[in-house]
Amino acid sequence: MGLLDLFRASRARGSATVAKERLQILVAHDRAERGRPSYLPKLQREIIEVIRKYVEIDMNAVSVNYEQEDTHEILELNIILPETARHRA
């Protein structure tokens, strides 16, 4: 071990810390994704289309959350209408 390595070893954070943080986020995301029904993105798109018939909304205004618990599944829809909703029709 050279002198330089000694300095290197004393660094506060090695790349392993970064690796762990990245993995924790990634794995949590992958796992959440795994249990979700595959129709969710399409469902979200279609809901946006329907709402847009009546109110001008942003693509991000509709969020679809899916959670699985022991005995039941929860499908949570959250739609944010703009403050000054311009009604169509």
Binding site: A16, L23, V27
Partner: protein
């Protein structure tokens, strides 16, 4: 009835075949009748690692297609009487492994063996799915590296949803983590994920930690499962892992940097 163990990882090159060969040899050396099957159709390698490549006449696909019977295809290991190798086919494509065919062969093997070790190909395609479908236990071979850990987690998802035990609502597959190519010095320097990091992310029972070792390449060069190299760190680590699999309480070794003595510093070791 045999216990079916799949050696899986998702990612390639992490040490699945090395592990399958070592584990099968370890179990057989303890007197358990063991068969090890290569599921990597088209890219067979287990025969090379086991050192029986010149004795392959019939293979797994021949047995599935009933072109040969099991006794003709199984290769008895020359070093250990209770160990048999069922090689993969080099020429067919992986679709040759039908679920019915694989199931039938495993069923027949179950009559005469205590353990059946299934060496999975990399990836999440057909061959890998067939290797894990019938498993009772899964050993997830992982390197302390981001892509390998992620792929392992992906495999865990597949094991818990697409295996026979999952589909029939039977008791879930027992899953174990085997961390390979571990370098305690790099972990100490903060450049490599530690065992604890990987365990925390995957939350699996730790079957063993195999250190990065020259012995692994030496073993594969000569077609001798590394577990037979009892002098080597990797060989001992695999020996410990077999003990733990069989329920022995074996403390983990090779997790810390080995202090080098004056002479080994001087002469390298």
């Amino acid at each position: 009835m045999a216990r079916i163990i799949v050696i899986t990882s998702g990612k390639g090159g992490v040490g699945k075949t090395t592990t399958a060969a070592a584990l099968a040899m370890g179990l057989a050396q303890q007197g358990h009748r063991t068969a090890v099957i290569d599921f990597d159709v088209g890219l067979r390698n287990l025969d090379l690692i086991m050192g029986c490549e010149r004795r392959v006449v019939y293979d797994f696909v021949n047995v599935i297609n009933q072109e040969a019977n099991l006794n003709q295809a199984l290769i008895r290991d020359k070093r250990c009487d209770s160990l048999y190798v069922l090689p993969a086919s080099q020429t067919r494509d992986k679709e040759a492994l039908t679920k019915e065919g694989v199931g039938r062969v495993l069923e027949e093997l179950s009559q005469g063996f205590d353990y059946i070790v299934c060496d999975s190909p990399a990836g999440i395609e057909h061959g890998a799915n067939m290797a894990m479908y019938f498993a009772d236990d899964a050993i997830v071979v992982t390197n302390p590296e981001v892509s390998s850990v992620r792929d392992s987690d992906r495999m865990l998802g597949i094991l818990s949803s697409k295996s026979r035990r999952a589909e029939t609502n039977a008791e879930p597959i027992r899953e174990y983590l085997l961390l390979t190519r571990y370098d305690p010095l790099r972990v100490q320097n903060g450049d490599m994920l530690s065992v604890r990091d990987v365990q925390e992310i995957l939350s699996l029972d730790l079957l063993g930690v195999v250190p990065e070792s020259k012995a692994v390449l030496n073993a594969s060069n000569s077609g001798v499962p590394v577990i037979l190299d009892r002098e080597s760190d990797a060989g001992q680590a695999y020996g410990d892992a077999v003990g733990r699999y069989l329920g022995e309480d074996v403390p983990h070794r090779f997790l810390e940097v080995q202090k080098k003595g004056f002479f080994s510093r001087l002469f390298g070791g």
